[in-house]
């Protein structure tokens, strides 16, 4: 494995801390009773684009493991791995599609959203259920329904939160030289 720069290490640590805080404490009520929306996947998609696939994978793995540690429901390796894979895939997609996070335009946003929807479907409809079937022996029907629910919910939050983050980040990179006072 290639050696991470210190900056990437810090980005993974801070990214995981953000992922944790958003996942654990930011509960936005969802239409379905007793469930809340996970805004952290919008963050994860954004960080993976900026810091690359390995950083994205580790933010997802570490952040999700800490959330499971802190809640009482045990560690769900299948879902943790799916979070890590989501970060990995988004980072790879950003490279393959040549997304430039510093000046993301309409085209960039479309790429970002296509990539995130595909990655979410792969993670929650394929990876998480397959692992759950193998590890926990749970029935397919239930897992697919669950995966579909979370896949859609996560894709919607990523579309809004992730896109807004990308736009805001790109705006911070604007050069002052191109502006005039009116």
């Amino acid at each position: 494995m290639k050696k991470f720069s210190v900056k990437t290490i810090v980005a993974i640590g801070i990214g995981a801390a953000l992922f944790f805080v958003l996942g654990r404490f930011v509960a936005i009520p969802s239409p379905v009773p007793n469930t809340s929306i996970s805004v952290q996947y919008g963050l994860l998609a954004f960080l993976s684009v900026v810091y690359g696939p390995l950083a994205g994978a580790l933010v997802g793995l570490i952040g999700h493991t800490l959330i499971d540690f802190s809640n009482g429901w045990g560690i769900w390796w299948s879902w943790i791995i799916a979070s890590g894979v989501f970060g990995l895939l988004m980072g790879l997609a950003a490279k393959v599609l040549k997304m430039n996070e510093a000046e993301i335009g309409k085209k960039g946003l479309i790429k970002f959203n296509i990539a995130q929807v595909v990655c979410h479907l792969v993670c929650w409809m394929v990876i998480a259920p397959v692992l759950d079937v193998y590890m926990m022996g749970e029935p397919w029907d239930k897992l697919i329904a669950q995966g579909l629910m979370s896949g859609i919910a996560n894709a919607v939050t990523t579309a809004i939160v992730g896109s807004l983050l990308c736009v805001a980040y790109a705006a911070t990179k604007t050069k002052a030289g191109s502006l005039t006072k009116e």
Binding site: K7, I9, A17, F20, L66, S70, G72, W73, V161, T172
Partner: protein
């Protein structure tokens, strides 16, 4: 805020084990429980987990909150399974013993109940071990332990950084969210879902962008103090393995072997009491 992970500092034989050996045990135990559906083994593991709880001097009230979440979670999970696949047990065990006939496909069968018992046992034998690990391991030892079991020290330190900055991020989130609410940002049920997400973004954007500024400061601080120079590093909170550590790890690794062996001898993952 100070104790997000519920570490309870109370001397016991389990507390005395090093974080690294407990981490190995946790992983081995989880693997053993996950690979197997051999019911007697699951029962044995559950009983053992509860015994270890006593050894660690943990009391029910220490973890009552987490225990509550766990019970609700297990219950919900089982309800969902039953709703979606009421005949999963029948398919698995290849027989059908109806106990209570119900309309549609929702007959309650002995096979389905036995399958549910297995699912509950699988949760019941791993969740206590996770709680045990969290309650008896000082978070300071997490990173050192990961490094000890072979994770690169750079990645291990990312874990330590996450733990270090969670309280800071949390406080910042809280402050930003209050200032946004004062300006009229609405996150409660009064707003539509899309507006709620947009509102959340108005808090997340300043939070995340200012955190990204912080990344540079921290990485400078770390490099100025020599992080990343050597191929390895030592840890202030690392402790040498004792005999108990080694014994614990050996036992847990044997559990994995046992679990695999039972699956092999059983000729399948599922222990089947219905087969005559």
């Amino acid at each position: 805020m100070t104790n997000l992970f519920n570490y309870i500092d109370r001397p016991s034989p389990i507390h005395r084990l090093t974080g690294a050996s407990k981490l190995v045990c946790l992983i081995a135990w989880s693997v053993a429980a996950m690979t197997s559906f051999y019911t007697p083994l699951l029962v044995a593991l559950t009983v053992a987990a509860l015994v270890l709880f006593r050894v660690a001097k943990l009391r029910a009230k220490d973890i009552s909150f987490m225990l509550g979440i766990m019970i609700v979670y297990i219950a919900l999970n089982n309800v969902l399974i039953f709703l979606f696949s009421p005949n999963h047990g029948t398919e698995l065990y290849g027989s059908r013993t109806v106990l209570i006939p119900l309309p549609g496909r929702y007959d309650i069968t002995a096979e389905q109940l036995f399958y549910h018992l297995n699912v509950i046992l699988k949760n019941a034998c791993t969740i206590p071990i996770v709680l045990l690990f969290i309650c008896t391991t000082n978070p300071s030892e997490f990173a050192a332990s990961l490094n000890r079991i072979g994770v690169s020290y750079r990645v291990s330190y990312a874990v330590a950084l996450a733990l270090r900055y969670i309280p800071d991020v949390q406080r910042e989130y809280h402050d930003i969210s209050l200032a946004q609410q004062a300006r009229g940002t609405e996150m409660s049920k009064k707003a539509s879902l899309i507006n709620r997400l947009k509102a959340a973004s108005s808090i997340l954007i300043p939070l995340i962008l200012s955190s990204m500024d912080r990344i540079e400061t921290i990485s400078n601080a770390m490099e100025l103090r020599g992080f990343g120079k050597e191929k390895k590093r030592t840890w202030y909170s690392a402790r040498p393995f004792s005999k108990a550590d080694i014994a614990g790890m050996v036992v847990c690794l044997l559990l994995v072997v046992l679990s695999l062996l039972l699956t092999y001898l059983n000729g399948g993952r599922y222990y089947n009491p219905f087969m005559k």
